[in-house]
């Protein structure tokens, strides 16, 4: 059957738009591919390509500065996630459920760390910490990270609280459950997908953070991104590429698992 002119035109537009989308994806994936490729570079510094090797993956764990900064980053990311998700979850519920004076101000305040450039908040926290005499280290980094993770957690979770929650909670309390039981058995399961997304988001935001960590870390130990930033001047060694390659694979696997879990949760529900 001959295609009409309009159908032909639509087909052409469709092909062109797929090519366009492909090109955009290509530009976004090129740095990732290059980063991975140079983890196999047989040279001490990544100045040019010098043949294929897998030695950096083997030698990775003997680079103690790299490994200790990795653990430091992981611990900070886990702690920030726990703190942010706890405060974010009950905060989102509280801000949705209750009316109080200054609630609008708090709601607006939550958007500040999301919108204002991170350097501004980092500098502001640094000045305050110096003023009150808090020494820089894991504690200060944690406060910094939670300050931008909590708002994201609240916004993510608030979006998942539906109007049904109130009715369900009232029913639960009418049936004799106390507030804690109601929270654990009724409220939490209904907002659980939101809590999971918030946790995932908090972890990645904290783990990848440079600006806050760089400003608020002490002299002794730096997080992985801060270490990479400081290595940049002398040149980043291929073992960092190897580590980052492993990390991407782990995170993407976690993300796929997360989406599978979320899907099965949804199926179970409805």
């Amino acid at each position: 059957m001959a295609l009409t002119r309009r159908e032909k035109k639509e087909k052409r537009i469709n092909i062109l738009s797929n090519i366009y989308a492909f090109l955009v994806y290509a530009v976004l994936y090129i740095p990732v591919a290059v980063m991975m490729a140079f983890s196999f570079n047989n040279q001490r510094y990544n100045y040019y390509w010098n043949g294929f090797t897998t030695q950096w993956y083997a030698k990775l764990f003997s680079n103690s500065a790299l490994i200790s900064s990795l653990w430091y980053s992981i611990i900070i990311a886990i702690l920030s996630t726990i703190i942010s998700v706890c405060i974010g979850t009950i905060g989102a519920l509280g801000l949705k459920k209750y009316e109080f004076k200054g609630k609008k101000a708090i709601n607006n305040m939550l958007y500040i760390p999301i919108i204002v450039p991170e350097i501004v908040l980092a500098v502001a926290l640094l000045i305050i910490f110096m003023k009150v005499g808090l020494s820089l280290g894991m504690g200060s980094i944690l406060i910094g990270h939670c300050t931008f993770c909590i708002p994201y957690a609240v916004v993510t979770i608030k979006g998942r609280i539906s109007g049904d929650n109130d009715t369900l909670e009232e029913a639960s309390m009418d049936l004799g459950a106390n507030r804690i039981q109601t929270f654990l058995r009724v409220t939490l399961p209904t907002i659980f997908p939101g809590v999971m997304s918030a946790a995932f988001l908090s972890f990645t935001l904290s783990f990848d953070d440079v600006v806050m960590s760089n400003m608020l870390s002490g002299a002794r130990q730096s997080t992985l991104p801060v270490l990479i930033l400081s290595m940049n001047k002398s040149g980043i060694t291929p073992d960092v590429n190897a580590l980052t390659t492993i990390m991407v694979l782990v995170i993407v696997t976690a993300m796929i698992l997360n989406s599978i879990i979320q899907r099965s949760l949804k199926k179970k529900k409805g």
């Binding site: 955009v24 991170e118 000045i127 440079v210 960092v240």
Partner: protein
């Protein structure tokens, strides 16, 4: 809200859970957002001590320094770079978001995930990859030399253009996501009605699509422009100390240079720019509707 039901209860009984739930987040925001930001405004009006400390003598010195040509030029340069980044992110991102929004729901969801995956890679290492690709003896220069297109390697790195490439590739998703969510909500029937009434594709786009998706465009402007204005990692990684933006200047005031009031004043400038954009945004959309996640 069930405020009527709650109000019937004795006030005392309601106070504890309210305090326990809304308390921590409110306290955190006041302690670690509001107070530090107010304090930084105070510091910006103080003078620099002899040893790089803060002397609590009120002065406008820092703000005068900002107007000094050396600093003012950096500010203009940053505004220009952030502006170009925003413009290009929207010009590249709008058609891209439009293409995704017109795909079936499941394909669109996959395409959005595909967009996010590169961002699970360490951002500094992604920036470093551009350096590896374009350095003097890197793949791009090798290719150009081999094919005989150039006789000497081109110095791409540590230039404004490469910084721009880094900025755009880092910021693009923040333009695509809000654009996608507004375009996705656009009713197809509106476009069909417009076409049926005789409007051509161009008129339909200008009269229907563009005005309806404008809140998405403005969200994209805010989410790209403001971070680009304050960023220093891209310039640090790709500018090699030769390209400086406001972010670098602020960072240096709290590092080697130690002029906290000046750093504070520049931060206040960034806060003012942010507030101005948000103010414009709230004229025609609710801040809660901005797609930030």
């Amino acid at each position: 809200m069930n405020s009527t039901g709650q109000a019937a209860m004795p006030k005392k009984k309601n106070l504890l859970p309210k305090l326990a739930m809304a308390g921590p987040v409110s306290l955190w925001m006041i302690l670690f957002v509001t107070i530090p930001l107010l304090y930084i405004i105070v510091i910006s009006f103080m003078s620099r001590g002899v040893f790089g400390d803060v002397a609590y003598k009120p002065t406008l010195e820092s703000y005068q320094t900002i107007l000094d040509p050396t600093y003012f030029q950096v500010i203009l340069k940053s505004l220009k770079a952030a502006g170009i980044t925003t413009l290009l992110c929207i010009l590249i991102g709008y058609p891209f978001a439009y293409i995704i929004a017109r795909k079936p729901k499941d394909v669109a969801a996959k395409m959005i995930t595909l967009l996010m995956i590169p961002f699970w890679t360490n951002s500094l290492m992604r920036l470093n990859a551009w350096l590896l690709l374009f350095q003097t003896s890197g793949p791009v220069n090798n290719f150009l030399m081999h094919t005989g297109l150039v006789s000497k390697p081109i110095s791409f790195i540590y230039t404004d253009s490469l910084v721009m490439v880094g900025l755009i590739t880092n910021m693009l998703p923040f333009a695509v996501l809000p654009l996608y969510s507004t375009i996705e909500k656009l009713e197809r029937s509106l476009l069909e009605a417009s076409a049926d009434l005789g409007a051509n594709a161009r008129t339909t786009f200008m009269k229907i699509t563009l005005p309806i998706t404008f809140p998405g465009i403005f969200s994209a402007i805010i989410l790209v422009f403001i971070p680009s204005l304050g960023i220093y990692t891209v310039t640090d990684m790709l500018g090699g100390g030769k390209v400086l933006y406001i972010g670098n200047i602020i960072k240096n005031q709290f590092g080697s240079i130690r002029n906290w009031p000046l750093g504070a004043a520049l931060s206040v400038l960034l806060i003012l720019v942010t507030m101005l954009l948000i103010f414009i945004y709230t004229r025609f959309a609710k801040i809660e509707d901005m797609e930030v996640v």
